[in-house]
Symmetry: D2
Subunit: 430 residues, 4 copies
Amino acid sequence: MTSDMIDFSTIFDRRESAVRSYCRGMPAMFQSASGSELKDADGRSWIDFLAGCSSLNYGHNDPDMKAALIDHIAGDGIAHGLDLHTGAKGSFLAAFERHILAPRDMDHRVMFTGPTGANAVEAAMKIARKVTGRTNIIAFTNGFHGVTAGALAATGNSYHRGGAGMMLNGVTRMPYDGYIAGQSDTADYLEAMLDDRSSGLDAPAAIILETVQGEGGLNVARPEWVRRIAKLAKKHGALLIIDDIQAGCGRCGTFFSFEEMGVTPDIVTMAKSLSGFGLPMALVLVRPEYDVFEPAEHNGTFRGNTHAFVTARVAIEKFWADETFQNELTQKSDLIHDALSDLAALIPGAKLKGRGLMQGVDVGSGKLAGDICARAYEKGLVIETSGNEDQVVKVLAPLTTSPETFGQGFDILLEAARETLTETTNIAAE
Amino acid sequence: MTSDMIDFSTIFDRRESAVRSYCRGMPAMFQSASGSELKDADGRSWIDFLAGCSSLNYGHNDPDMKAALIDHIAGDGIAHGLDLHTGAKGSFLAAFERHILAPRDMDHRVMFTGPTGANAVEAAMKIARKVTGRTNIIAFTNGFHGVTAGALAATGNSYHRGGAGMMLNGVTRMPYDGYIAGQSDTADYLEAMLDDRSSGLDAPAAIILETVQGEGGLNVARPEWVRRIAKLAKKHGALLIIDDIQAGCGRCGTFFSFEEMGVTPDIVTMAKSLSGFGLPMALVLVRPEYDVFEPAEHNGTFRGNTHAFVTARVAIEKFWADETFQNELTQKSDLIHDALSDLAALIPGAKLKGRGLMQGVDVGSGKLAGDICARAYEKGLVIETSGNEDQVVKVLAPLTTSPETFGQGFDILLEAARETLTETTNIAAE
Amino acid sequence: MTSDMIDFSTIFDRRESAVRSYCRGMPAMFQSASGSELKDADGRSWIDFLAGCSSLNYGHNDPDMKAALIDHIAGDGIAHGLDLHTGAKGSFLAAFERHILAPRDMDHRVMFTGPTGANAVEAAMKIARKVTGRTNIIAFTNGFHGVTAGALAATGNSYHRGGAGMMLNGVTRMPYDGYIAGQSDTADYLEAMLDDRSSGLDAPAAIILETVQGEGGLNVARPEWVRRIAKLAKKHGALLIIDDIQAGCGRCGTFFSFEEMGVTPDIVTMAKSLSGFGLPMALVLVRPEYDVFEPAEHNGTFRGNTHAFVTARVAIEKFWADETFQNELTQKSDLIHDALSDLAALIPGAKLKGRGLMQGVDVGSGKLAGDICARAYEKGLVIETSGNEDQVVKVLAPLTTSPETFGQGFDILLEAARETLTETTNIAAE
Amino acid sequence: MTSDMIDFSTIFDRRESAVRSYCRGMPAMFQSASGSELKDADGRSWIDFLAGCSSLNYGHNDPDMKAALIDHIAGDGIAHGLDLHTGAKGSFLAAFERHILAPRDMDHRVMFTGPTGANAVEAAMKIARKVTGRTNIIAFTNGFHGVTAGALAATGNSYHRGGAGMMLNGVTRMPYDGYIAGQSDTADYLEAMLDDRSSGLDAPAAIILETVQGEGGLNVARPEWVRRIAKLAKKHGALLIIDDIQAGCGRCGTFFSFEEMGVTPDIVTMAKSLSGFGLPMALVLVRPEYDVFEPAEHNGTFRGNTHAFVTARVAIEKFWADETFQNELTQKSDLIHDALSDLAALIPGAKLKGRGLMQGVDVGSGKLAGDICARAYEKGLVIETSGNEDQVVKVLAPLTTSPETFGQGFDILLEAARETLTETTNIAAE
């Protein structure tokens, strides 16, 4: 190590781009991590309710993945394999077929894209356009699908969209399920516009949606709404793309977020927790009849991140070979729901959001949510906000977090909330 | 390992997308690799003159990087760090500042993007548009910058462009240096159009170029042309972006491909060999005055691939702390030039292309180049083509390849060429 | 005349593009016209309930305009004046100021564009984008604004949109007032998306709307909805553009269609009946603070169609100098409403549409509406359909049509409807 | 007339948009015109070397067209006919077929578009995209094709392009013939890029060009260049569109500007002088096999400007029924060339530009050209500049201008030039 040479107090300020973000509110120098615990260079530790924004669903440095990865590296296993056949890729594919696809009756093909969620979304959008010969893709309010130009067109957030510096084309925006509380089904509106040949809604290549909008504020689509959207897509010759990058890999209580909804998407995008270990990896699942790319028509240097194949294979075999893990998730989901109900009860007007292990509380203002998370960080809990006004305190703990650790985390969170509210009240009273 | 459960002969056909490419011509099941050697599951070995398309400039599984990475993993080092401060990132930044930026008088900021080259290019284009408030970006014939929608607009290849399924906007195409042999400087044309307010060339946000076009066929820009482009960019208020994803990290004989050209780009994009180990990593270097993104305005889950920071730091310290490595590259460049001259001498009309360790031979047809590479593969050499007709046999060996291994590789290549030519002649004679 | 040389039976088939349309259902060779009457070469006559799609609001060949125009031509008055000052233009401007703008407290500037409605819309959209520095323009379902690329992006009709052969950008579509019967105010949805910074609705440069959608099927916006849209535009920094090309010039009972709504648009587009005589003329009214085009920044050869200025001046002075004409329109509106109620009563499920002298009946199917119009044509009435399925029989008679002629026209229309329905019933009964 | 009510000194300032342009340098109140003479309200007269920017090729108020038009109006002829059959349209079509199309072996269909050149260009571009299923259209440096969004994308002028307020898509720019003096044929570059599948030039739907660039500065394409472009278009499956809006209708000495070049365009756009009288009229000529629009797929209220059909028919019959007129044009072209040579001789570095009756002198600076034209105006000659820096003094006199009037006009022009030069020299000498 050369840390003796580095002035750690200034290197980031001196050299890292101003685009950096999480480190501003959580300025510790993180060094190691295990399970649901993060440690900094000084040995201070935090419970992790962020989990790399759902990229560490199985916790940090899972011992089995870690062992397999070290074995692989020590044995000079391929690290970078382009899209060549490697044993590691073959093993991953076989495990993914056996434990994920086959039991769910999915005959989808697996496309390894550049290892970012945005790249998977870009590939999915391209496939849909190629299959249909159409350009328009329907996306929803508050959706988040990445920040490269194609994916960004589908992302709702104006802060990110503004970063493009140009018009973002090819996407039509529709209201997500329940967009205006108390109003009728937003699918009515989509249906009316699709059926009306003078609506100005161009015939869609695809409809892309998240079943739970992670960045958008943990908005949940009802299964009947998703089914209706799926039916509309089919009727109008559009592909249904479910972006399961944040909500998939068990986050909603099942491997795919849509499993219990009675729909089979034409395309699924996955990334984040796919490698199990936090390593960059992404894929697109596509029905065989829509697997239309010619060789390398969509490519990318790192589409064969072999280290990730190794850990991803272990993750699938360890957690998804039987129902044990999934059953635990149901219990944890309830645990989270109860704890967050307690939190919500503290705050007038607060609303529970999300489902599964992707729940949170809309506390009504981004300021309050931010203050609660900042105070939690000081007390040893890493947790973040989401939503269009950052008004939702969002729990994205590793799915492997033990009930005890959940308890400790929630104790911190509630204490942080109480203190924040007291202080706010005191300030208001002065 | 679960390989006993897998029918390796069919898993890829059964489940991997038809988009897979390299594995079609090189169908071995690769298993391990070291230095410039690749091995398959049956123990057969190949010399690697592809190096993950220049992503493995220091060879496979460099022992020092390997040791550091295993140490890191074994010690539960952070694997996935979002954009939090980590020791691994701090160490990388410090090494990069000390050995790369400072000695070259570059005060650029380092932006870690999603870990693919395309993502770095997308970020660079967005920065230029944000800085200038302009949309148009000038790119060149035969340029390759990635296949996500923003980057793809700058990529010349119609095969990749066609994959978009939509109009690609925001980029104007200009002829690269020497585009039409024997004609006057293509920069004349760019200058005339920039100076002419009725040319229809919208004021550019940036000019993006590769100093050597790797995918485009190893076309080399003359230093004086690059300087002239840099001057035109400055005069017309555009940023100069050098895409050093394939040509950088020593590939041209110096760390950056443009070092000896007398230009300092406003923005540099890097990826491929940046991590040193083949792990996904990308960054954008940007002059401080253009480091204009707000926090997380451009983001991405895997922008903190900490494993890559670990190996990248070792790569910088091991190879770029002094001049030793760079000096060796000069000699290897000559060696490659000599060997390829021998190859070119076999083929009427063949032309040497490229520079540094990024050289090749334009053999006049994609068919011939492909046949030579296929035969080389059979004889134990992994090598690929590039160019708009795939007509260039391209040597992208690890920079660390020993002279002996180079010799063996070139022996195979020349033999493959001779046999291919003989067979072709025989067929023609029949 | 050279008609002796022409084979009139085939010249159109032989030489006119297949794009021709109205002449297919109304194949007569029209020769002359006066007031509300059209005559063909054989002396057959029709009552005109189409009025050049509302371009002949004062009837054909109004005697006062005709006299003024002949005087002008006979006296070698300027025919084509670019944007030079001409007496004819000055006189028109003065009359327009005195009788139209000043009494309505509108200090708008008058921009003469190329003499088509589409050109006025293109100019309006460009102004809004220039004023705001934004690109996005909000348009509504079933809106029709022209078929040139900029305007076509705002037009809803997929048949016209498909003619573009390319992606149409820069416009977001929202549901028009009452888009889904029985559902809540569509402005709620627009408001929610404008207020939500993650909705994906980019900040708008303008909101463009027709108060009655002529081509879209005589859909009428309620005044309170228009006021709410106007307020939302103002709140969010967008300009309000009212496209009064078809609904203006008295068609809705007042000179502008929006007069009694309590809104003053930032921009108004006018064309069709503006010249009064059916001559090509278009203009954009723009608030002085938004009159931002530099000299000739938007131009066009025929923006000074001086013949049209002559007749347009007469039209303003003859019909809008006092309230007489407007008062007659109120009575005629009632007359039309009563007659169309009789028509609607014949057809189960039929609905009255529109307002003022822009009313019709939605007969439930394009087939039925087309059959009624075809039969009316055979009986001496020129009338057309509109709507997304062409399901609305639309009355667009000259505003100057006498009650007697209205009576004759409606007699024909009802007879045509009765016969069509009888025949349809008979066919169904067989 | 109501001029007594108008304060003519201020009505334009008070009410006309700031976009007005020609009237700024030529502020007279024009009232009447005949042949090549313009008169203002005070009886002052000017020789017209502008001719409505080539919209008045047969002069103002041609007596035969005038008589026919007055007859038509007096007889209650149709003024506005949508796209119905009218006698006037039939007669025009027959004359156009007989005297223009048939003798030139052109079997093109005639599409009447909205009566502006921009609208014809928009329609032409849409046809090419529909025919080919491609989007990209190749246009040239310094081309001018209109300012509506679709056409503006093909227009080179940055002043006009900037007015769009948005990215203009769907067009690739190439250098016009002789773009850089002394360099090799610009068609080489177009050919290379079309042949190169990695050039980034998307397969074109069409190539659009003017044979003489009127607004662009009277740049002339050589016949052999046009032939080569035509060949490239054919080879690459693109339609050749010749925009003959300014250069057609005899302006270059023959009816079409391309007649003697050995090419037959797939599409021709016409407007400006088509009606012969300065009335708004435009059309698209399209080969029958490309006449692919469905009925009304491209439409427009004023596509049946019947007054224009009347005068256009007379223009065709009077001037193009035999060779007399065309022969005169050859002589006038020489006359203009001689006079402009005299002008050019006065100014060091001046260059003759253009051909036929579309000639001018590049005087080297926009300031000088503007000063000469301003002084000419004061002396009784209306004349304008063109070019990317407005550096070309452009003669666009009516084609019917007599040699005597040409003489008088050129006398004024030369005197204006001499005085301007003297004054400039004096100022410089002070």
